[in-house]
């Protein structure tokens, strides 16, 4: 997997490159928007991580030029501007996700991986399956080992998001954004309690747990023996 990092701040850039390398990605780096655009149009990258404010060519302008050239490589925008307006502007310019600086590397990694999966293209399916857990998008029912599990509508959406990202870490912020459409962090551990309730329903009476807590990062839904993807 090849990632292009477009970031003018040397320290942030090397922090990103080092972290991504350690996570098993090949990384190219550009220091300004023009170089970034050149690399993005010539090389074949699986994803782009770009800073919003760049010398010589603004990040959003670069993204616009890229999209105009019909290159749809998924892009994650990094920005110090954190208001909802700024986020909307970034996503409209062709960004696929938006992360406010400063950020935890685990958050960036989780989001980047979600983008990469989306870029790979998920086949349109009506059923999601992780090990013996099955979620039917049409009948909106959940079954494990063919035993129906009663879930509330929000729990269904939470589980759906976790299953779509099965085997990967999703952060609390990602859950808040995608399941609740909230772009702020509550001071209370609201998400943790939702997760533990869901866990009660899908894991409690079964010997092999599927929903795992990843310390300092978030949660991960995966089969007990499926550790390869992590």
């Amino acid at each position: 997997m090849k990632i292009l990092v477009v970031e003018d701040d040397r320290e942030t850039a090397s922090y990103l490159v080092k972290g991504l390398n350690e996570s098993g990605y090949t990384v190219d780096r550009a220091g300004d928007g023009r170089d970034g655009l050149f690399l993005a149009t010539s090389g074949s990258y699986d994803a782009i991580v770009l800073d919003r404010m760049l010398p010589s060519m603004d990040g959003l302008a670069m993204l616009g030029a890229l999209r105009a050239a019909e290159i749809s490589t998924p892009a994650l925008i990094l920005s110090a501007l954190g208001s909802v307006d700024d986020r909307v502007k970034g996503l409209r310019a062709g960004g696929d996700d938006y992360l406010v600086k400063p950020f935890a590397f685990s958050e960036l990694l989780a989001r980047l991986e979600a983008l990469l999966r989306r870029g790979a293209g998920t086949p349109t399916t009506t059923k999601l399956r992780v090990a013996d857990l099955e979620l039917d998008l049409l009948t909106r029912t959940v079954k494990r080992r063919d035993k129906p599990i009663e879930v509330l509508p929000r729990e269904f959406r939470l589980l759906e998001y976790l299953m779509r990202n099965a085997g990967h870490v999703v952060t609390r912020t990602m859950l808040l954004e995608h399941v609740w459409d909230y772009h702020f962090d509550p001071q209370t551990n609201v998400i943790d309690v939702h997760i533990s309730r869901l866990r009660q329903k899908i894991d409690k009476t079964f010997d092999s747990p599927l929903l795992h807590t990843v310390r300092g990062a978030g949660y991960c839904l995966r089969a007990a023996d499926d550790r390869a993807s992590r």
Binding site: S83, P186, T188
Partner: protein, 479 residues
């Protein structure tokens, strides 16, 4: 500078000629002086005009009267002459000039040689031409044993046979009257101009004094005394209005300055303390054993501290942005009940976990115009607070209409907030718990208030007996 220029001559010692000259020059440069001077000029011209007109009309009136009397007399005598000839005329003249009739009429008929035949003028006036027509002459009149020369006006007729008839009227009374009017009007004019001069001076001095007050106050404010205000004269005129507006502006500036100073102090305290703590921890880790568990723990806690600081910083920025009031119209029609239910749905499990019962009561159709994520955040902050401080019991979210307003209430059964603190809790970094053991940055309610104000609403704290009821009122939309 401005005040220096406007400083009035009566201030300080101005007795030396030099000072007097300088002060005079300064005075001349002021707008008030120029205004007063112009005012005086216009006043003088108009007063002179009015007085001249009065003089002219009264003089003219007297002259016309003389003229009319003369005409009547001439017409009468002409009739007598036409009916009875010269002898008749002489008889009539003799009759009319006998005695003092007090009307000041003068008659004289002379024979062809110029000798007086009849009349009340003793002799042909000296220097009077003998040609017929209108003329002015002087006559001698006896006034209380004195002979005076009086001016007269009249007409001379030459009667066939070279007789002459002189009819005239003593106009000394009229002249005296005219002179009297002239003197009176002159005095009146002088008095009016004097009063105008005094009035203009008083007006400009008054104007200058009040401008000077404003100037001196602004100078003191600029010098740093922000609480100084322009004194009001209590006349509620334009100057009082100006002063009142200036005072209001100064109030606003002072409030903003105070708020800013408070924020700066708060930032210094509430951001510096954790930074110092973090620094100390990292330094300790650095001098401790390398690659120890303690070192990673120190780094982890430093990261946590940094995250908390960033959250505080973000909250401060959000509040500042909301309070700056750059009003982009990103509002949309919202169902307040839906916003409340959504937040309640997020918080319900955590509330139950902590021994609370979270309930939502909504009326249908409580529609407002607002920014959904901001209102959700405000509600989340209130719920966070209730979970943190109420200890347990019921948390009630209510959405309803009241007096044309949309109301959102969050009520708990905790200790509540003492009356005295109900306003201050909205201020930045205010935390009622002095020990500060519970996590939090003291910005939650500040942010709530900023969000509510952004929506042109109000937020108040009410005693829930026991507990706290927070009521947010927002303008209804589409009602």
């Amino acid at each position: 500078m401005i005040a220096e220029r406007l400083r009035l001559p009566y201030q300080g010692s101005w007795w030396t000629p030099r000072r007097l000259f300088e002060n005079g020059q300064r005075l001349v440069r002021t707008h008030a002086f120029r205004l007063a001077a112009l005012y005086f000029l216009v006043f003088a011209v108009s007063v002179s005009g009015v007085l001249l007109f009065v003089y002219w009309t009264s003089a003219d009136f007297v002259e016309r009267q003389t003229e009319a009397t003369l005409e009547a007399e001439i017409a009468g005598l002409a009739e007598q002459y036409a009916q009875r000839g010269l002898s008749g005329l002489v008889q009539v003249v003799a009759a009319r000039s006998a005695g003092d009739r007090g009307d000041g009429m003068l008659y004289l008929v002379t024979d062809p040689d110029g000798r007086p035949l009849v009349g009340n003028i003793a002799a042909w006036p000296a220097g009077l031409s003998a040609r017929a027509g209108r003329l002015s002459f002087t006559t001698e009149a006896r006034v209380k044993d004195r002979i005076e020369t009086h001016p007269a006006q009249g007409a001379l007729f030459v009667i066939p046979g070279r007789y002459r008839l002189l009819i005239g009227r003593d106009i000394s009374d009229a002249t005296a009257f005219r002179d009297r009017v002239k003197v009176t009007l002159l005095w009146a004019g002088l008095l009016a101009l004097g009063a105008g001069l005094l009035g203009g001076a008083a007006m400009s001095r008054n104007l200058l004094r009040r401008v000077e007050q404003v100037n001196r106050t602004s100078e003191r404010v600029m010098a740093g005394n922000l609480s100084d205000r322009v004194p009001l004269a209590g006349t509620s005129d334009e100057f009082d209005q100006l002063a009142a507006n200036l005072n209001r502006m100064l109030d606003q500036i002072e409030r903003l300055m105070t708020a800013m100073r408070e924020v700066t102090d708060d930032v210094a305290h509430d951001l510096k303390t954790p930074l110092a703590r973090m620094r100390a921890r990292l330094e300790l880790a650095l001098i401790g054993p390398v690659d120890s568990a303690g070192q990673s723990e120190a780094i982890r806690s430093a990261i946590n501290e940094a995250d908390r600081l960033l959250a505080t910083f973000n909250a401060l920025l959000s509040i500042a942005e909301l309070e700056a009031g750059t009003r982009r119209d990103d509002t949309e029609p919202l169902d307040l009940a839906e916003v409340a239910r959504s937040a309640a749905e997020l918080y319900e499990p955590v509330a139950e976990e902590n021994g609370f019962v979270l309930s939502v009561t909504t009326e249908p159709d409580v529609r407002i115009r607002g920014v959904r994520h901001l209102l959700s955040q405000a509600l989340a902050n209130l719920l966070d607070n209730a979970l943190k401080y109420a200890g347990g019991g019921e948390i009630e979210i209510r959405v309803f209409h009241r007096e044309g307003q949309a109301v959102l209430e969050v009520a708990d059964r905790g200790q509540g907030i003492p009356d005295a603190d109900r306003e201050t809790v909205f201020d930045r970094f205010v935390r009622l718990e002095r020990s500060r053991t519970t996590a939090g940055n003291g910005l939650g309610l500040s942010l709530v208030r900023a969000i509510v104000r952004r929506h042109s609403g109000t937020v108040e704290l009410i005693d829930n007996r026991p507990g706290l009821r927070i009521r947010i009122q927002l303008p209804r939309w589409g009602a």
